[in-house]
Symmetry: D2
Subunit: 329 residues, 4 copies
């Protein structure tokens, strides 16, 4: 028996965590990508809970950066960045429900070199930006195209980095807002959190009818913080299994793996992202175990883990987690 | 001759800063209010540059808080907060232009007590909130209804505060985003900056065709920071004069009065709001005077003023200004 | 009758706010300056409450920057910056008391050009620094020497700025810490708050026997935030009157003028400085008036003012105030 | 051959990373603990590079919290908190050098229950504090005494947590400052970073003659962030080996294990701690490999790891690291 059979998704999902009908969204099916998370567009696909969907995503630059001599500033056109596939309408999903998305696989797609990273002007964790506004001159742009496959990311002649793929941007639609796909927030979005990878189940709040699931921005590998602002970006084929938990209201995204439960907060300054995540986790532990918020707070002081997602997007992201073994009541 | 005749609005506006046709938007004209700043709705009015528009706005609670025994938590329904009148479509406005809005008057509207303020759970500058997440218990709710007119705000038997009205929320539409009217950002929005009052001209970036001007959330008086999160809220009638500056691209809102020029930044943490505003002002001074960014930076070190708008909204707002007399070249 | 006769200093001071014996500390008396606020040095002067002391202070660079061709990086030697005169031992002062310092006058001292400002590498509000660490290259250094007197600061051929002097750095010793004179904190220190000028009374917590008052770093004028990090620095002669309030424990510096009461907080991020100041003011108002913290919190929402001191030092400083007229019970 | 033989300590240390004379500091030797990191006290021990020192430390409460019915507020007396053993004077150490401290072992000391944690008023990551000042009422105090040994931390009947000890507070003296042992900063101090455990080598900047090494505040286990502010505090016996690297100037603490190199930053807001650490690591990688800062910045974007130390102390701490295998030139 897999741990998935005891996951929240399996225990409470409308489809019982079991795979249902198979679907696919190709780049051609998608046609036009979306650059905001919002309710003002038509779904590209409607599915029932249990659906297994193969989704093609583009890279964060929509393929515009083709060579190391390209200029990101010349080729990119804000706000048309970070193209998202979707939205997927999930039948029966209503405000107050929870969408469960199990990530089955993430495979790179397209011609080598598949991977792209770059330094962009006024973007990144160690440079002045539009928000942390400085008078210093920007760093020069720099593009790096990198070969990669499911065995590794071939960074240089000497160094091969592991292939540790995840979905950089995934979430549901806000109720009436339409927010840039560059931003993470309470509905998910551009969290750039490496834990959102194969094997994990992510839980997202449903704010609008049908949930309206968007995803894109897959990364072949990324360090904590996505420091220069651009991870190992790649076009990908993502396979997900969707379930729906009725009446299970969560305020921020959550995640589950075999070993841990995790909550995800996005905010500035960074400590507020950590506070959101840890408060959600305190409450989740208390709800699961009945140990009381104060006891959960002390337990997290001993055994909580914090993962830095991004420290470069309009909001920064932190995932906080604890081993399931420590939450036993 | 008024200083308005030498304002940026008069010097560069399509209508030369001169009043044109008169229009009005009543509550009845408006019908349904809007709760996001975005391009996904029909304009309530189309005007040419020069238009003088009398706009009725509702209070931030859409009138739901009627007595001091009311419970904000019970009556308010997020995200349907901070109702906005508009949008007003300005003919000829295109992305990259600048909208100039001169505020002619702000008068309270409705039956006494016109003014409302309150303490709300998990909202305010000195309490834990959804973003600065705390485990402490919230403060108790408290509502205060206050009589006010153009002569004063009758706070208590002993204290009358001055009537110093301004528009709490005003801005243009983003290009493809639709952002909560609770948030201030690069297009204006919920800045809650007391300088946005009668006599001032506010300059807003145009991001979408027609500019799509929204406004609402007038305050009879407010301290720096809007500390508890709720100023002296009132329904109002606002008279504005609109002009359009073609090809004048600004990144963030600006403001002009007889004595000063001001730039406005919104971000978290608060120093980033101040950095945005001061960098914009450094650049504005340099452009006006040709003195160089380094000289402007030093001048602001001596003579810049910073006004704290809000420190309670999803982004905090700071306006930074300098006397026009000090920028003479 | 002056407002001083009704000040907290007059009402509660050991000397009743009345001037006592006169003293002076010249640069020669001082001998070696101090670069930390701490209890590990001998007082330069011992006085009784009521003492009026004429204090000579040096500029923040200890006079090392003599011409516009000087290099601050070459001449300055961290941590030997921001030289402080003192400490002054106040007889009878014990931990838990409050020191009241009325600022009688601040006069520039030395040969013209008396004023110095400059751009320093990795220091300032709009550049990457040692704390907000960036990879961008620093701005070039730049020194500006400026003539000034009590009638004005002669910034350029075209612009004369007003002479608005204040004490940039003033405070008492911590109990066991010795903290850099570059930093502001709960005991005062490098607040760089323009309100600390002639006419004002500043109240400081006493943490060590004798209070151990230090001061220095006078500015001829400064904008809100001290944006580039270096105001119009000048050597000065400061005249102060010292009193002592026994058993009056305050957590952070406070200030009083004819019209307002002010509290001062220093912290990062900037909102925490504002929170400290506003919470102290909420409590002060409640204590003075008995109106309750919730009512004081709402009153400050309407009528509180926030003054940005520095946004460049190791902690940022905000002073929050309210008119005395609004606190009447 | 151990990795220690190829460590920076072994390659550049005066003692070549080899153990020298053995010393001990017991609680009795120490006599009075210290509560600031500063140069104003006599060393408790003088050693030559290579010295192996067995150091007894007290818990952060100096043993005052003896039972679960104790009140921390009643028993603790700020600023006399977090008692430090030391300072140890290292012969030959001068400003600009680097002190290398290899942690050999950390063993709990004293009678069961050895471990203490608690909730304190106005202290912790999810409550209002003296710096993030709130009007909300504090959480109730709560003390938990916990049995622990080198095999485990016996949290409850159902949950045993692993014994993962580290030194919460360790550092050298500032040059002229004396800073509270509650604070982490450029010289080390109260970093509360779990990586500072057995097997690691920590590198500390030398700011004062003899380096003046202090340590204390050992933890039996701690989660990322030390969320409630109090880890599993314990009295301990720490065995360290000290070496000295002449003329090797570092701005912030660094750390080395078999697999990674790490840099440590402490600041508020939390992103500034991460920026400091990541900038130091960018520069370290560049210096080791000659790959250029831009290439190091991109490499860290792919493969950097961030560890949250504390998010509760006067400055927050982040350690950033990369695998040595990825820095090969």
């Amino acid at each position: 028996m897999s741990w998935h059979d005891e996951s929240l998704m399996a225990r409470k999902g409308v489809a019982g965590g079991k795979p249902g009908a198979r679907h696919a969204i190709t780049i051609e099916d998608q046609g036009t990508f979306h650059y905001v998370y919002g309710p003002y567009v038509e779904p590209v696909l409607k599915v029932a809970p249990g659906a297994v969907v193969s989704v093609q995503t583009h890279d964060a630059f929509e393929g515009r950066i083709k060579s190391e001599s390209d200029s990101p500033a010349a080729l990119l056109n804000f706000p048309y960045l970070n193209p998202q596939t979707g939205p997927i309408f999930v039948e029966g999903a209503e405000k107050g429900d929870c969408l469960a998305v199990r990530i089955l696989s993430i495979r790179p797609r397209g011609e080598q070199p598949i991977g792209t990273t770059c330094l962009m002007e006024e973007f990144g964790g160690l440079v002045g930006t539009g928000h942390t506004a400085m008078l210093n001159k920007p760093l020069p742009e720099k593009v790096k195209k990198v070969r990669l496959d499911e065995n590794g990311v071939y960074w240089s002649d000497k160094v091969t980095l592991p292939y540790e793929p995840f979905i950089g941007t995934i979430g549901t639609s806000p109720e009436i807002e339409a927010i840039s796909a560059l931003q993470p927030d309470y509905y998910g979005g551009n969290m750039d959190l490496p834990d959102v990878g194969p094997g994990a189940i992510i839980y997202l709040p449903v704010n609008a009818a049908g949930a309206l699931l968007y995803l894109g921005d897959c990364h072949a590998i990324q360090g904590d913080g996505e420091l220069c602002g651009v991870a190992m970006e790649m076009p990908a084929t993502v396979e997900i299994q969707i379930d729906l938990i009725k009446g299970h209201t969560i305020a921020w995204p959550r995640l589950e793996t075999e070993e841990v439960i995790m909550t995800i907060g996005s905010a500035r300054p960074l400590e507020d992202a950590a506070r959101i995540a840890y408060r959600e986790l305190t409450r989740w532990i208390d709800q699961e175990s009945g140990m009381g918020e104060d006891e959960a707070y002390m337990l997290l002081t001993m055994a909580g883990k914090a993962r830095l997602g991004n420290m470069v997007d309009p909001k920064y992201t932190v995932g906080t987690s604890i081993k399931k073994a420590y939450v036993k009541t």
